[in-house]
């Protein structure tokens, strides 16, 4: 039998210690892995909840960071109604806000919008058609001028004639104006610079299908990003749209970013089913955006009843 020396005991203890610490580090690794999986699950549940029930979804804040429930088998009739509201997003070369718009409509309506390409001559059966922002055809000739003459715009006009709601945001507004679906023109900003900042808007008319979830005169926040948002119309046209309550949004609190006449930020057509606006409501629809002042616009258009105001 070998002699049990203190050296041997020392070596054995050292080896045991090394193995133990290996086991420990593997255990910690697994624990991290489990935590990561738990995090993924929580975010997936949050996404699911958001998609299936846009009314009760509250983005995580300090006060409600508890993990969302998994079981969501019952839906309210309100929710189901929103599921019937279908939307389409027009995609043209040079647009860059289409993904933001698709994400916003998916979150709010609970259903991904169909996308329609410039050469499409038909738009599927939808309740809302949205032309997002960007720089279609590189703003050649005039902003929106080329896009307005593409085949898809004839299909958009046909939808509008049938009473389908149409929203044009930023370049989408310019395209609607160039297509003659909205009056006036959008000219170079008066200071000649591209403007990218947040402005305040006043809801001038809350009695429309686009603004019914806002209060009349409500001041909302909205991001803008454009070079040609300076709205212009001849005096007769201006008097008509003002007199008919067709200016839905006006830049408020001296935040007119482009020299737009009468501080006009958004207008509707005479029938009230085609809206054009320069600000980007799709970029302010959830807490992660820093606010949700743009959300009621889409909820109004999609016939979704206003939610309770979020706790501050």
């Amino acid at each position: 039998m070998a002699e049990i020396s203190s050296d041997l005991i020392y070596e054995i203890l050292k080896s045991v210690q090394t193995r133990l610490s290996n086991v420990e580090s593997v255990a910690i690794e697994h624990s991290h892995g489990l935590n990561a999986i738990r995090g993924h699950l929580a975010s997936m549940q949050a996404e699911q909840q958001c998609v299936f029930d846009p009314h009760t979804h509250r983005p995580a804040t300090r006060s409600n960071r508890t993990p969302p429930r998994i079981a969501r088998t019952r839906r309210t009739s309100k929710t189901i109604r929103s599921h019937h509201m279908k939307s389409a997003v027009v995609v043209l070369p040079g647009l860059n806000r289409d993904r933001d718009m698709i994400a916003a409509l998916t979150k709010i309506s609970g259903k991904a919008p169909v996308t329609v390409w410039q050469t499409d001559t038909e738009i599927p059966d939808v309740d809302l058609v949205v032309i997002p922002g960007g720089f279609s055809y590189g703003d050649y000739l005039r902003c929106g001028a080329i896009a307005a003459r593409m085949p898809v715009m004839r299909a958009v006009a046909e939808k509008a004639e049938k009473g389908v709601q149409v929203i044009g945001v930023c370049n989408g507004f310019q395209i609607l104006v160039e297509a003659g679906m909205l009056p006036g023109a959008l000219m170079r900003n008066d200071h000649l610079k591209f403007v990218c900042r947040e402005v305040k808007l006043r809801v001038e008319n809350a009695n429309t299908s686009f603004t019914s979830n806002y209060a009349p005169g409500q001041i909302i926040r909205a991001p803008v990003a454009h070079h040609d948002g300076n709205y212009f119309a001849d005096p007769d046209t201006l008097a008509r749209i003002e007199g008919e309550g067709r200016v839905l949004f006006r830049y408020a609190e001296n935040t007119n970013p482009n020299g737009s006449i009468n501080d006009i930020a958004g207008i509707v057509n005479d029938r009230g089913n085609v809206l054009g606006l320069m600000p980007h409501p799709e970029n302010l629809i959830e807490a992660a955006h820093g606010g949700s002042d743009g959300r009621p616009l889409f909820e109004s258009a999609l016939g979704i009843v206003a939610r309770q105001p979020e706790p501050a």
Binding site: A145, P183, A185, M187, D190, H191, F232
Partner: protein, 80 residues
């Protein structure tokens, strides 16, 4: 072959911030007496046709439908 020049200009009363900026720049270069500058666009178009009257009508249609935004712009068509 018919060669034509289409000139598109802003209507009177329509604000032209780019023209204003050019006006100030000319002033800065020391050109005295520049009253006002209005910026416009010129399109030189070649059309494979011998029918001048028809071509002129086509060019006007092109202006109305695409080259000019008649809400804010006027146009003139000159054929060589």
């Amino acid at each position: 072959m018919i060669k034509a020049r289409v000139t598109v200009t802003l209507k009177n009363g329509v604000l032209d911030p780019q023209g204003k900026a050019i006006e100030h720049a000319l002033d800065g270069l020391g050109f005295a007496g520049v009253g006002s500058v209005r910026q416009g666009k010129v399109f030189d178009i070649e059309i494979d046709s011998a029918d001048r009257a028809r071509t002129e009508a086509d060019l006007k249609a092109m202006c109305d439908r695409l080259l000019a935004n008649t809400v804010i712009e006027n146009y003139t068509v000159a054929i060589d």
